[in-house]
Amino acid sequence: MINSRFVHSSFILLLESQRFESIKRVGLPITSHDILYLWILQEERTIRDRTLLEVRDSDHRIPWKVRFNLGNSSRQIIQCRNSIQGKTLLTDELGYVCERKDLLVNGCCNVNVPSTRQYICKSCLANGCCSIYEYCVSCCLQPDKQPLLEHFLNRAAEGFQNLFTAVEDHFELCLAKCRTSSQSVQHENTYRNPQAKYCYGESPPELLPV
């Protein structure tokens, strides 16, 4: 026979940890329905929490300070930052995408290789979500994406304040914006759209039915 005290105390602990005082049912053994109920409540709370990360009111704007270097990509550059992480591809700060083997010592893509392309939106959908991170960054670096990005920054949720107020220029913004984030997931452990999860645009990836 299972020890009823054992069951009961676990229930209380559980309740206290959750602060679900309202359903504390002292004296009754825990049932699967109690657990279920707790999980329902918690799920609701999660959904509520998540909304905090989205835009609530237009008054609150994050103090972003991104410097867009519009149209001066012709400037002489000695050293490039690049997207570092790629398995096979890299995007440099001028928006060129190249294979790892075509990266120069200074961190820039070798533009003399035919496969190196600038501002390429390959694999990107109309909603601004791409299946390949490096193309997302390259596409986002297109000078004509500036208004879109500014619009996003002006409406960015409080939850993104840390990230986007620390971003300093167009390249950093695109690196950060294209990464998967809280906007990319449903149920916390699944991508909204596993095929096109890197988004430079404003909207989160299109929600694919499970």
Binding site: M1, I2, N3, F6, S10, L13, L14, E16, S17, Q18, R19, P29, I30, T31, S32, I35, L36, W39, I40, Q42, E43, T46, I47, D49, R50, L52, L53, I84, Q85, G86, K87, T88, R100, K101, D102, L104, V105, N110, G159, F160, N162, L163, A166, V167, E172, A176, R179, T180, S181, S182, S184, V185, Q186, H187, E188, N189, T190, Y191, P194, V210
Partner: protein, 1042 residues
């Protein structure tokens, strides 16, 4: 979020402690206890033949008493024997007590030639006041009475122990004010050898690991950015001097730590005073990702991780973990972090000693996964272990944790100020993170430091613990100084983990060493991790080459190798399958050879475009071959049909275990069915694992085929599905099938006229004089009439769950034995509950029944206790009741390997092709392997013997007994307590005056936020911090007795 302590029974061990010294605080709680263990540790080394008695209870007794007239005179520094004698005589002269008779008690041991900082003095009739005047001497620090320590260890065979308990000793420092002794404390353990009994424990973990050697060289972590993802940190904590930034990623509007966990972790890494951390000058970035209720979500982590990448964090500590390696957004993000050169250090989990309990993300190849040990170098009970389970069923798991370090009773910063002690792998993780931060700051060319090179340096320098297998300790215990040496002579290269395959080496290569290989057996798979320090991406050039050693019978084995097409980020796998060649079918002996792998990475600093770095590594292989055992001795374990979480939600077999409702341990003979495996091995059976469909093996070769997941839970009525989960809005989340896939099983056994029913039963009963517990098992609904069926009275658990009513059902058929009628036909045994052979949450084992069933199926021997049991009933015809069906709308086909979705009902999938290994073409060499494979496998180009040792201050010698298997060159500066020699214990072991109360290291798994174990897609991922609340004095838990 279920908060759940582990319940266990407690065993008080004897302890006496006298504290008669005047002017001292009385002892704190002089208590000792044992650790509740539902799962005794059947250490293969301790009890190779432990079939029924795999538990030992260790009883430790000790007492101390003051030795009359003997005093320890401690000096302010180290002086020669002559100088000490001179100081004492001059000090005694100063007391002007002419009656004092005194002499120095000689200490005859090798250390007496060296300067010492104490002397043992025999003084007759000393008055307290004269003793005090002795302390006036400028070189005398203090005078304390000598005390004698009595210590005995006793082992008890299991029959004397409480059921399911194994004692686990721990002590904590005595609260003492007048003696510095209090800051060191003695541990005792009898686990491996009594020589390990004695050890001085300096109070600071950083000093134990010799961080002060690096501090003296001017390295303090400066210039390294370290991120702590935890519960936050208060703004003006006195321990920290370089908190660069604090950010909050939770829904609570605070940056402060309301729990103490984050402060502690940050303190272990970077505290600059009191309990010192490793890297006080490092740049601390505090990420608050847990609420004070310890709630956290994947989405919070994703955003915080992005910020860490933007901030170019160098080292990131994650003292969190959970079972969900199928949480793709999280796993991908961790890869992204390491790909951006963030060195990730994570806790392996607190779910030990059960196997199959590794937590994500510590189980990832690119992450440094850290397990916990105590100060006696025993693997901490709580430390998660066993292979990784991502690769099941087709492959075999990788070795994790990577390394282990102190995680039990470690001191770190308190929430507001001061220090406290905590235990858990989330304590061990910041120890490594702090060490890594400190190490990174010692390297001049920081370009060389990356997640792979750091991990390579740590594992190549780690010290292997004796008697512990690699799935518990990884590469061994962190050795900071050796890691420093390796890292500072490091050249970019590839390396392997493990670095060699010796299937004969016990216990390190357990379970491989527990069963030799033979012709016709399922191939043995070893999953090796390739670490590539040359670049974030790499590839294997051409193909790995298998080179058997002809003088060492290498041609008796076949080897097949599969590997990651791209090694990214920083790592990949190399799976080696080993099989016995046909010509060795009746041969017995050892076969050796090696596999050569060449790894290439793009050269980043090469002026030539397209340049590559390459590195070639050798993987020695050594196996033991035996003649193929007879069919009756071979058991095949069906891994292929096991369904588990992740990805699906499959309830545990025992529905009582609501705090841990998901079945996540892999259900493998080397994870949660490990005890069963060891039992079968000890009975002489050879157990193989089938990772492919049933059609892929030759049944004529095996005596038994085990599909163990025979549990109910599949219900036709949705109201009693124990639908524990729901999710979004109105959608119910229901178990995709029961713990066992009853309908599928019924499909399988229906050809013999057998079926399991839809009842769900539990209860205690006695069968053949054995106490048994039926834990959420099902009944046999249909059985051939000439079979043997055993029935018992059990409770209807379905009814209880549904309506909270208790009803006993009489004569529930639970066990059936059947001989198929054809000539030489097989035999079938059914039992409705596998909980009794599963290590997780097992209440009573039934290995005896397994033996009996195997005897029956292999040799047709029916135990009379079963065939003539009073409980035998007529086999149920079962025609009156419907058999269980899958719940409408279940999604089993998504996770099942055999069902597929069609319009309407899921239909069986066409069976996949049986896996085919392409055996590597051998390139025999006339070579001979060195006798010790391990010693020869270190990082290339790093010869430890030639690396200069850092200049360690020589004037603070420390004597510490060596553990077996440990080299002598070990020296710990700092934290030395004066002591004296105890001749009883050993010639070279100084015994410092012992004061101690054993305290139950109350192994409180506060299973915080258990909601981590939530179903795929349905529940938010909730991380839980992996720490144990140590030394909480509420230890009176007990096992739920049923």
């Amino acid at each position: 979020m279920l908060l759940f302590p582990v319940w266990g029974s407690i065993l008080f061990c004897l302890l006496t402690g006298f504290l008669p010294v005047v002017g001292m605080e009385p002892a704190g709680g002089a208590r000792s206890g044992s650790e509740p263990t539902p799962d005794p540790d059947p250490d293969p080394l301790l009890s190779p033949s432990a079939s029924n008695c795999s538990q030992l209870t260790l009883k430790l007794e000790f007492s101390t008493k003051v030795v009359e007239h003997e005093y320890i005179v401690a000096f302010t520094g180290y002086f020669s024997a002559r100088a000490r004698s001179h100081y004492i005589s001059s000090a005694i002269r100063n007391t002007r007590d002419q009656d004092l008779e005194w002499h120095i008690v000689p200490r005859e041991n090798p250390a007496s030639d060296f300067p010492s900082d104490f002397e043992l003095v025999h003084i007759r009739q000393a008055s307290p006041s004269s003793l005090l005047t002795l302390e006036d001497h400028p070189y005398i620090k203090r005078v304390t009475p000598q005390r004698k320590v009595f210590r005995t260890l006793k082992y008890f065979p299991c029959k004397f122990a409480l059921r399911g308990t194994q004692s686990w000793q721990s002590s904590r420092p005595f609260r003492r004010t007048s003696l510095s002794l209090g800051s060191g404390f003695w541990h005792a353990t009898g686990r491996h050898s009594s020589r390990r009994l004695l050890r001085a424990i300096p109070r600071q973990v950083a000093q134990i690991l010799q961080a002060d050697v690096l501090w003296q060289m001017g390295h303090t972590g400066s210039g390294v950015k370290v991120a702590v993802f935890d519960t936050g940190l208060s703004e003006k904590h006195p321990h920290f001097k370089n908190v660069k930034e604090r950010t909050n990623w939770t829904n609570e509007k605070t940056l402060d730590d309301g729990l103490g966990h984050g402060t502690f972790v940050a303190g272990v890494i970077a505290s600059m005073r009191e309990c010192q951390g490793f890297a006080p000058d490092s740049e601390l970035h505090i990420f608050r990702v847990f609420t004070n209720n310890q709630v956290s979500y994947t989405s919070w982590f994703l955003d915080a991780f992005n910020y860490a990448i933007l901030k170019k964090i160098d080292v990131l500590n994650l003292s969190i973990g959970g079972p969900d390696f199928m949480d793709h957004p999280f796993v991908d993000k961790v890869w992204e972090l390491t790909a951006n050169r963030v060195i990730m250090v994570s806790a392996i989990g607190n779910d030990g000693p059960l196997y199959g309990t590794l937590n994500n993300p510590a189980d990832q190849m690119d992450v440094i996964g850290v397990g916990g040990i105590d100060f006696e170098d025993n693997i901490a009970r709580f430390s998660s272990r066993g292979m990784t389970t991502w690769e099941l069923p087709g492959g075999y798991g990788r070795v994790k944790p990577d390394i282990v370090t102190y995680g039990s009773g470690v001191r770190g910063s308190g929430m507001k100020e001061g220090c406290r002690s905590l235990s858990g792998t989330s304590v061990a993780s910041p120890v490594v993170a702090g060490a890594v931060t400190l190490l990174a700051s010692t390297v001049l060319n920081r370009e060389l430091v990356n997640p792979a090179s750091m991990k390579q340096a740590l594992i190549a320098s780690a010290r292997r613990l004796p008697g512990v297998n690699m799935f518990e300790q990884g590469h061994g215990k962190l050795d900071l100084i050796r890691a420093y040496q390796i890292l500072n002579s490091y050249r970019p290269q590839a390396s392997l983990s493990p670095s060699y395959i010796d299937l004969t080496e016990c216990p390190y290569m357990w379970p491989y060493c527990s069963q030799p290989i033979y012709y016709g057996g399922m191939p043995t798979i070893v999953n090796v991790t390739i670490l590539n320090g040359m670049g974030v991406t790499g590839r294997i050039v051409d193909k790995p080459i298998w080179q058997p050693y002809l003088p060492q019978n290498g041609d008796h084995i076949d080897v097949a190798v599969s590997y990651s097409p791209v090694l990214w980020p920083w790592a990949g796998y190399l799976a080696v399958s080993i099989s016995v060649a046909k010509k060795a079918a009746s041969w017995e002996g050892i076969a050796q050879g090696h596999v050569m792998v060449t790894v290439a990475s793009p050269a980043e600093n090469d002026s030539e475009v397209g340049g590559e770095l390459t590195s070639t590594v050798k993987l020695p292989i050594k196996v033991k071959i035996v003649p193929t055992p007879p069919r009756s001795k071979r058991v095949l374990w069906d891994q292929y049909h096991n369904l588990r979480y992740p990805p699906g939600y499959f309830p545990r077999d025992n529905l009582r275990m609501k705090n841990d409702p998901l079945d996540w341990n892999g259900d493998h003979i080397h994870t949660n069915f490990r005890d069963m495996y060891q039992h079968l091995r000890s009975m002489g059976y050879f157990v193989e694992v089938l990772g492919a469909p049933i059609t892929c093996f030759d049944a004529s070769q095996y005596g038994a085929f085990t599909n163990t997941r025979t549990e109910c839970g599949e219900r036709r009525r949705p109201d009693i599905t124990l639908s524990m989960f729901l999710v979004k809005a109105q959608q119910w989340w229901m178990p995709d099938t029961g713990g066992a896939n009853v309908p599928a099983l019924n499909d399988l056994i229906s050809v013999w006229g057998m079926a399991f029913g839809d009842g769900l039963y539990e209860g205690d009963f006695t069968l053949a004089d054995h106490d048994m517990y039926y834990a959420s098992g099902c009944s046999i609904a249909r059985f051939p009439e000439d079979g043997i069926v055993i029935a018992k009275n059990l409770k209807d658990q379905g009814l209880e769950v549904l309506k909270q009513e208790t009803a006993v059902v009489e004569g529930v058929p639970i066990l059936g034995l059947y001989q198929t009628p054809s000539e030489g036909g097989g035999r079938i045994a059914l039992y409705g509950d596998s909980n009794c052979i599963d290590d997780s949450h097992r209440q009573k084992d039934c290995f005896w029944l397994l033996d009996a069933l195997l005897q029956y199926t292999s040799y047709s021997m029916t135990p009379p206790s079963l065939s003539h049991s009073h409980s035998r009933v007529a086999p149920p015809a079962g025609t009156d009741r419907l058999l269980p069906q899958r719940l409408e709308g279940n999604h089993l086909y998504r996770y099942s390997k055999v069902l597929e979705a069609h319009l309407g009902d899921p239909k069986p999938r066409p069976l996949p092709a049986c896996p085919h290994l392409s055996w590597a073409k051998p390139q025999p060499v006339n070579e001979t392997a060195p006798s010790n494979l391990w010693k020869h496998q270190k990082l290339l180009s790093v010869d430890l013997d030639k690396v200069a040792l850092p200049n360690v201050r020589a004037y603070r010698p420390q004597v510490r007994p060596l553990s077996p298997g440990e080299s002598g060159a070990w020296d710990i500066p700092g934290g030395i307590m004066p002591g004296h020699y105890n001749q009883e214990v050993g010639q070279t072991i100084p015994v410092f005056a012992f004061l101690g109360a054993m305290v139950v290291l109350s192994f409180f798994v506060v299973q915080l936020t258990k909601a981590k174990n939530k179903p795929k897609r349905r529940k938010p991922r909730v991380k839980r911090p992996t720490y144990l609340q140590q030394q909480q004095q509420t230890t009176m838990g007990k096992n739920p007795t049923v």
